[in-house]
Amino acid sequence: MNDTVITVENLRKTFAFGFFRRKVEAVRGISFEVRRGEIFGFLGPNGAGKTTTIKMLMGLIFPTSGKCELLGGRVTDLAAKRRLGFLPESPYFYDYLTGRELVDLAGRLFDLPAAVRRRRGDDLLERVGLSKAATIPLRKYSKGMLQRLGLAQALVNDPELVVLDEPMSGLDPIGRKEIRDLIVSLRAEGKTVFFSTHILSDAELICDRCAILVRGQLRDVGPLDQLLSPKLLHTEVVLECNGLKEAKRLAPDEDVDAVLRAALESGVKVVAVQPRYEHLEDLFYREVEAEKRAS
């Protein structure tokens, strides 16, 4: 079985706007692969080209040049689309339908028999916590409910590959945790999850590998532990004296032991010692800054 489920090679997209067809390069020759069974985070600030890339992968827009493949086939191949689930960014659905009707419509488009559609629809609505809202028209759904319904319709065909465009945007912390747990459970079921986000803490918690996109260019691709620098950034020491707390940031070359010893000898209480290594957020800022300097 092919181990690569998404292949992107030198993908470019240029849009032409206005009367004079002013050209804007949204995606500038990016290449990466997504492997079977992993959670792949597609990270980047707003306007980096994440949604444009996902739209090209989903066949919603056509690349200016380059190649993208899904599950070993072209993005327009029905055989590949049958094994794919997709949640668009801030999903818009037919607001005259109920939740159950929408999932049923999605099932019809996958040619699922009526009994399978009914059973799977009920299971999925239960899984995303919308069982009680199944018969309510979508115009009465909140943003979080629509997001969860979008996930249900994306999973109706029991897909091998699930592509989620900003699945956590607009959700409260509880909603984000629920979506994170769902993504992790999809990986446990053997599915591959490709999702875009600009919420770095979410990506850091669940991604096996990630790609960082800045201004249409790929800055880095790989496992998080390889992308993040193992170098110690600093050590934070919190001390308490006469009820007053003070935090000290020690440079990597400073002797932490000596600072702690001196504190203890002078009767100061050591409340916390926290070595600080690079987080995804630091890496992200590092890449964005590097891109700014380069341009």
């Binding site: 989903m58 066949g59 997709f86 999903p91 005259y96 419509l105 996958f110 319709q153």
Partner: protein
């Protein structure tokens, strides 16, 4: 086929849940039933008036519904981004366009069928009954509406509903008066027959909707009326329907071509 059916059924369901479309159909039914009142002022011509008013109402409101629903049919899906969740499903873009058209034609058939039933009730209340010429006239009107629906969908793949509405109504008016247009071209361009020939050929790009509304006009040199015994026969209805089907097919092919090239930004 299931996917086409799913899109068509969903389009039909949307129309059936639209209060605005219901209002238009209700208004058409009231107009048709007004023949009962107006008939009181016309001696011995009550049935004729009800039939003419009814057919006129079905024609006008059928076209109005086709234009109203058709011009936003595809545009709305792109603007509201509902298409984003559908295209990545195992669905060809042509299936989406054809499915939308079939759903719209089914909706129009139900709405026009409802108006036809109201017309029949109005006739029964006046002691008359629907006959074969009336059925043929209604079928021809449905052919006209199916052609207009395809034209509206074509425009909605690349234009705003307002402009699409203007274009579609323009096509309807020119198509409805195609005979007169041909006569004007021949009369005005006597001195340049080559130009007249080009214009005549060019005018065939627009639909000949005159074929579908023949009552009171001439067919093969003979005056025909839905109220007399000399109305067009079933062969004529079949050939006009075949023309309508072929024309709608060509227009849909253009709509598919336009929709298939679009980036959904």
């Amino acid at each position: 086929m299931n996917r086409l059916g799913a899109i068509a059924y969903n389009t039909f369901r949307e129309a059936m849940r639209s209060k605005l479309l219901y209002s238009i159909v209700l208004f058409a039914c009231v107009l048709i039933l007004s023949g009962l009142v107006l008939g009181q002022f016309v001696l011995n011509e009550q049935l004729r008036l009800t039939r003419d008013l009814g057919l006129g109402g079905i024609s006008f409101f059928g076209v109005a519904l086709a234009v109203f629903a058709g011009v936003s049919m595809v545009y709305k899906e792109i603007e509201r981004k509902t298409v984003y969740a559908l295209i990545p499903k195992p669905l060809h873009r042509w299936q989406f366009v054809v499915g939308k058209y079939l759903g719209m034609v089914l909706t129009l058939a139900v709405q026009m069928g409802l108006m036809a039933v109201v017309l029949c009730i109005a006739l029964w209340l006046q002691g008359g009954a629907p006959d074969a010429p009336l059925c043929r006239a209604i079928l021809l009107l449905f052919g006209q509406v199916a052609v207009i629906a395809a034209v509206a969908i074509l425009f909605s793949t690349f234009s705003t509903p307002f402009l699409s509405g203007l274009f579609t109504v323009g096509v309807f008016i020119i198509g409805r008066y195609s005979n007169e247009l041909h006569a004007v071209i021949l009369a005005k361009l006597k001195e340049s027959p080559e130009l007249a020939k080009v214009l005549l050929y060019g005018s065939h790009v627009l639909p000949d909707l005159h074929l579908f509304f023949v009552s009171g006009g001439t067919v093969a040199g003979k005056t025909v009326s839905v109220n007399a015994g000399d109305y067009v026969n079933w062969t004529y209805v079949a050939s006009a329907s075949a023309y309508g089907l072929a024309y709608a097919g060509c227009v849909l092919a253009l709509a598919i071509w336009s929709f298939s090239r679009r980036d959904f930004v």
